[in-house]
Symmetry: C2
C-alpha cells in the first residue's frame, strides 16, 4: 500500500537559545511511543531552529541605514526591521505599501527575508532571523538524531511562504538533509511510452506542505512533524536545489 502518515510531535517545549533540539525531539517521540525508523522524515519549522541557534534580534539594537529608511517610507514598515531584511538579502525584488519582497542571501525569494515577529517573547521589539545555514542545521540535526536512534532518516527545515499567482501561504523547504529536495524525472515515460511533461518535482516543498497541514500557524505548539512511509530517495538533496535562478525563471 502506498501510504504515509504525518504526525505532529507533542510536548515540544518552547525552545530557548542554546537548546539542543535532538533530545527534545527524541523525548517527545518516546513519550508518544513512536521512536524513529529508517526512512522517517522529520519536518522541523525553521523557527525553532532559529530560536535554538540564538538568531533573535531586538529591534532597539538595530540602527537603520539610509537605504532602510527609504524602503521603510515606501513600505510603511519599521526602518529597523527593514534594515534587518536588507542585511539578510542579496537584492530587493518588489517594494510597495506593506510589501518588501527580496532575494534572500540563501537564494530564495520571499517577503521580509523570512524574518518573523510572532511568537517571540520580546513583543514588537523582537525579530527572529532565519538560521545562518539551514542545510547545515538540518544535517547537524539529522546526524544528532541518527546517533541517538540508529535510524537513517531525513530532515527538512520548513517555513511557509506567500507566492505569486495564488493566495495563501504554503510550506517550503529551507533546509534539507538525507533526502532529495528536487526529483528529476526527465527521461521517465508515461503509460504509452511518451516522455513525461512534468519532469521535475519540488519534493521537499511537498513534504513541507504536507507537514504544514498538522503544524498549524498560531501557537508554535507543533513545530515538529514526523512523516512515516515515504518512499526512499537519494540522500544528497540541498534546499538550494529548489531555487530557480532569475535568468532561468520563465514564470516571473
Amino acid at each position: 500500500m502506498v501510504s504515509f502518515t504525518a504526525t505532529a510531535l507533542e510536548g515540544i517545549p518552547l525552545v530557548q537559545p542554546g537548546d539542543d533540539l535532538a533530545p527534545l525531539i527524541t523525548a517527545s517521540l518516546t513519550q508518544m511511543g513512536l521512536g524513529l525508523t529508517d526512512g522517517d522524515v522529520l519536518v522541523v519549522t525553521s523557527k525553532i531552529v532559529s530560536k535554538a541557534e540564538g538568531r533573535s534580534v531586538r529591534l532597539k539594537d538595530v540602527m537603520p541605514g539610509d537605504e532602510a529608511r527609504q524602503y521603510a517610507q515606501v513600505t510603511g514598515k519599521d526602518p529597523r526591521l527593514v534594515e534587518l531584511v536588507l542585511r539578510e538579502s542579496n537584492t530587493v525584488s518588489r517594494v510597495a505599501r506593506g510589501v518588501l519582497v527580496t532575494e534572500h542571501r540563501l537564494g530564495f525569494v520571499s517577503a521580509n527575508a523570512g524574518i518573523d515577529q510572532s511568537n517571540t517573547a520580546d513583543g514588537d521589539e523582537g525579530a527572529l532571523l532565519l538560521p545562518e545555514d539551514p542545510d547545515a542545521s538540518a544535517e547537524r540535526l539529522r546526524a544528532d538524531l541518527q546517533t541517538r536512534t540508529s535510524a537513517t532518516i531525513g530532515v527538512v527545515l520548513s517555513d511557509s511562504h506567500g507566492r505569486p499567482f495564488r493566495m495563501g501561504n504554503v510550506g517550503v523547504a529551507l533546509g534539507v538533509a538525507g533526502l532529495s529536495a528536487l526529483l528529476d524525472l526527465r527521461g521517465d515515460t508515461d503509460l504509452f511510452g511518451r516522455r513525461l511533461q512534468i519532469s521535475m518535482v519540488g519534493y521537499a516543498d511537498l513534504i513541507a506542505s504536507a507537514a504544514a497541514l498538522v503544524t498549524g500557524e498560531g501557537r508554535e505548539g507543533r513545530p515538529v512533524v514526523l512523516l512515516r512511509g515515504l518512499p526512499p530517495t537519494t540522500e544528497s538533496g540541498r534546499a538550494s536545489d529548489l531555487y530557480r535562478a532569475a535568468e532561468q525563471d520563465l514564470y516571473r
Copy 2:
C-alpha cells in the same frame, strides 16, 4: 494526536470517457478494506476527471488561427496545441522558447493552460483539456460519494504546477468541494498575544501537495488519494478562493 494518513487508492482502472468515477473509487476503497468516514478528503487528479468528462481533443481536428501561429513560432510549440491553449485562456502572460504561460479562463496562471499530452492514448496527436468547471466536478463527485457511503467528505481536484522563484512542480487545487480552499487566520494571535503575521493558508493546495507525495507523476496508476484525519474546516470553499487577482499580486 494531531495526525493524518495519505493513502493512494489501488486498482483504479484507466479512465475512459463517460466513466462514472464514484463507483470506481468506492470499489477500490472496498477492496482495500477502507470505506469512507466523516472528515475524509479525497484528492483526485484533474486528469482522470477530464478523461471521464471526455475533454480529450485530437490535434488533427484543431485549426490554428493567426495568433496561435505567431505564438507557435516564438515558443516552438505545435500551433494546434497553442490554439487550444489560447481557447482555454483569458490572457497570455509569458511567452518564450518552450514557454507559454497564460491566465486560464478559470482564473489561475499556469503553463499551457494545464493541457496535458502525457498518458493519453492518442500519442503526439492527443491533448487533454482541464475539466470544464472543476469546482462543479468536485461537488458532483462529492455528492455521488456521499450518497453511496453516507459519509460527509471533502473532494479536491488536483493538478501539479510549475511556479515562479522555485524549481519543481507542486500540487495545486483546481476544484474544491466540502472544505476550505483558503484558511483565513486574520485576527488570530500567537502565544504572546501578537497578531499572526501569516494570516492566510493555501489549505487546499497543501492538501494537493500532500497527496502528490503518493500520487507519483509517471504512470497514472495512483490518481486518487485518501487523506484521513485532517481537522474539519468550513464546507464552502472554492478553488477560485486561491487565485490572486493580478492587481493584488504583490509577488509578481
